[in-house]
Structure formats: structure tokens, C-alpha cells
Symmetry: C2
Subunit: 248 residues, 2 copies
């Protein structure tokens, strides 16, 4: 046997982290309020809940005021704990900008990025997916979001009758996305998406808790992970809420 | 006459800045390369070109590594010069996150934000537009982008025959966007968009220079401003390029 090890890819790292802690819960580290308190709050909630998590998602709540450089402490805790880090920037820019973004994210220790497949493959996400994979990172596609207005975009019916979210699910499979985001409030769309993307593509489901979705329903409909933010970050007892959601 | 002054809104501030310097050029402060050099380069190019600009656009190239806090120097120069600042985050998230983003941007001195109307109005951009306007800021909608993959999203034909970019132009008008982004490489789409959005909604046109578009063509097709990045930021003589493009 060779002593050379191939580092596991993003998907495997996420599944390993999930198995290790018996958790299907991905914490969205979203905070409002004074900027100087957000980092402290993020570290407090992360440290209180880390044993219950499969991964951590960071959005503009932290990244916009502080940047990657400013949230190094949060990144370090995730690295030490083996918690994959997802950047929820919903990238939808031209190729050169998207490449700039994913290079920065991976340089600073992020494991994956969420992208909107609406932006297209040619001079959009094609080379971005290659770049992320060449750096052993992951890319997750938005397929159906958890707000009411998702109807006004993801549900649009194209000429020929297909709904746009189904086109996005096909893009995830064909372009080689590691996972997709499908609202926990739409059990039928989770099941539909699974049929299109197959078993190798992970389904992550947001919209649980503050947004009205039910974690257990999302998982029973076929999601691999639930994404939860405010129900935990705004709770008086984040650890308790996280523990209750970890294997729902 | 009352001595009370109503502060001009974003659209008026942009037109005033344009008139003052006789410029229809908006500089996209996009830099690659070592993170520690990007801020210095941004300040160098901004100071070299500021007399030729109507406004400045900032994207993740600067914001992701440093955050709003880290780019205070760039923001200060723009404030001192009366150059409106546009955050090109192409926001396409749920309402609570979008509100968090625009609050941060305006707190730190940005004047406007670019959004993708794909995300919808209900629990998407509806309250975000109100919030931005209540703070005297502006919001710009993506209508047609400058990369080839724009065909795979913005050009999708919906049931009934309408192209998505035309739906987005209608949304800009109906939802009260202050301006729209339409690629300088698509003169016909600039003209089409003008017909839909009317005269009060500004048209900003990217894709000039490094991306192959022609500034003069964009303006002659009806755009109010051209957005130029790499042709200036990667030039040996940014001032000369900017001077040449300012009133193309």
C-alpha cells in the first residue's frame, strides 16, 4: 500500500464531519446589530454549538463589515474543529470576478462557495467550478430558495414548460456541483431535485426555524443537511437549540 | 425661500458628479494580485483618475479580503471628491440578509447597491428598495450582463415568449429602481431597455475595454454611463485611459 494519501474532497469532508458528530445541522453564522459585537457573538455561538454541527456557513453579516481578514478567528475555530466552511455569497458575476472571489475564499481557508447557476456556464461558472475543484473545494448551486419571492425567479416557467429550478437542478448535475440548496419549506421540490441530481450531489436545506420550515420535514423529504441561522444565533441557549436540531 | 435643503437622492448626486467633471465614466476598482497591494493600488488609481470620473464601483476584489472597515480610505477619497460609490455585490438573497447588507453599505458611506431582480420582490427586494430610498441611497438592477453566459440566464425565453431581461427591465420600472445595468456589447438591448424603463431610470453599461465592448457605442445606443475596470486599473497610465473614456 502506498503511504501517499489523497486529501478528501469537500463532499467527503462534509460527510465525515457530519458522521463524526452525528449531525446534519449546518450553522448559518448570521448576526445583526453593532458591527463590533458580531465577531464576538459569532465566536460565542460557534464555540457553544460546535459539537453539534456538521459545517458552518458564513454570509455578508460577518464578511461585509470585516472581510476575510477580519474573520480569521472564526475560520481558525472551524479549521481546528474540522468543520467545513461554506461562503454564502450566492455568486452571480462574470468569470473573472467569480474566480477572484473563489481564490480569495480558498486562500483564507473556506471549503466551498454557494453560486447562482442563473449566471450561466460560459464566462460565468464553468471555469470557476474547475478552479474550485482543482483546489479541493466544493461548489453548491442555488436550486430553490426559502423566501416567498422564489416564485418570481426560481419558479418561472420557460418556453416549453420547464420550471427554472428544474433547469438549475439539471445544471448542478451536468456541471458537476457538489451540492444544491433547496428550501426546507418545499418537500416536493426537495424530492424532485433529488430525482434530477442523483445521490452524489448533496442537498442542503435552508428556511428552518425563523423562516417557518421544519428541519425534520426537510430531512425526511430527502435533504442531507439543514441550514439554520437565526433560531440558533438569536437564541438564549444556542447549544440547546443546536443539539435539538442536530439529527432531526 | 426656505433655507431648508432636501439632500439630493442618488440619481441626482450621480448626475451632478457627472456634470461637474464632464464625465460619463464609472471606474470599477477591481484588482487581482496580492491582497496587501490591492488597497494601495486602489488608492493610487483612484487618485490618478478621480478628476475624470462620474462615480466609483467596488466589487468583491476589494470588499472580500478587507471588508467595509478595511476600505475606509477608499470610501473617504470618494466622499471628499463627491464621487458616488456603488457596491457591486449583485445581491440576490432573502430579505433579512439583503437588508443587513444595504444597512452595512450605507452606514459605511456607500451610495448605492446593485441587485439581481431575479430574486423577486416579496421577501426579496421589495423592502430593500424602500430601505435604501429611506436612507437616500440608490438601487440598480441587473438587466443584461456582459459575459457570454448571459444568454443562459438573462436571455431565457419564458412561457408566453418574453425574454427574462425584458421582465427585469419592467421590474426596474415598476419597483422603482434608480438605474439598470445593461451590457455595452448589446446596443439593441440598451435601446430596448430604454424603451421599457423610460428616461428617469439611468442605464449603466459594463463590458467596455477588457471585455470587448466599446464605450462610445454604449453611450450612442442610449446608455447614461459606462462602467470600466481592468482597462484602467491594469493600465500603465490609468489617468490617460480614463481621460480618453470620460466623455466617449
Amino acid at each position: 500500500m502506498s503511504s501517499e494519501k489523497v486529501a478528501p474532497g469537500f463532499r467527503q469532508r462534509l460527510l465525515d464531519a457530519s458522521r463524526k458528530r452525528g449531525s446534519k445541522l449546518i450553522l448559518a453564522l448570521d448576526f445583526s446589530g453593532p458591527y463590533e459585537e458580531r465577531l464576538d457573538n459569532a465566536l460565542r455561538v460557534l464555540n457553544a454549538t460546535k459539537e453539534h454541527l456538521a459545517a458552518v456557513k458564513v454570509n455578508h453579516h460577518l464578511l461585509l463589515p470585516y472581510g476575510l481578514h477580519g474573520i480569521r478567528g472564526v475560520i481558525s475555530v472551524c479549521k481546528e474543529e474540522g468543520l467545513p466552511l461554506i461562503a454564502d455569497l450566492k455568486i452571480n458575476d462574470i468569470e473573472s470576478t467569480n474566480l477572484n472571489i473563489v481564490d480569495s475564499l480558498i486562500d483564507y481557508g473556506f471549503d466551498s462557495v454557494i453560486a447562482n447557476p442563473f449566471i450561466g456556464r460560459e464566462e460565468g461558472l464553468g471555469r470557476v467550478i474547475e478552479r474550485v475543484h482543482s483546489k479541493n473545494g466544493g461548489i453548491l448551486f442555488l436550486v430553490y430558495m426559502s423566501h416567498k419571492g422564489a416564485e418570481e425567479g426560481y419558479s418561472l416557467r420557460l418556453e416549453g414548460g420547464e420550471r427554472l429550478y428544474r433547469v438549475f437542478a439539471h445544471r448542478a448535475r451536468e456541471w458537476g456541483a457538489d451540492g444544491v440548496i433547496v428550501s426546507a419549506k418545499s418537500s416536493d421540490k426537495i424530492a424532485e431535485t433529488r430525482q434530477i441530481v442523483g445521490e452524489r450531489c448533496l442537498i442542503l436545506s435552508p428556511g428552518v426555524g425563523a423562516q417557518g420550515g421544519d428541519a425534520a420535514l426537510g430531512i425526511s423529504a430527502g435533504a442531507d443537511f439543514v441550514l439554520v441561522g437565526r433560531s440558533i444565533t438569536e437564541s438564549r441557549d444556542p447549544a440547546k437549540i443546536a443539539a435539538g436540531l442536530k439529527s432531526s
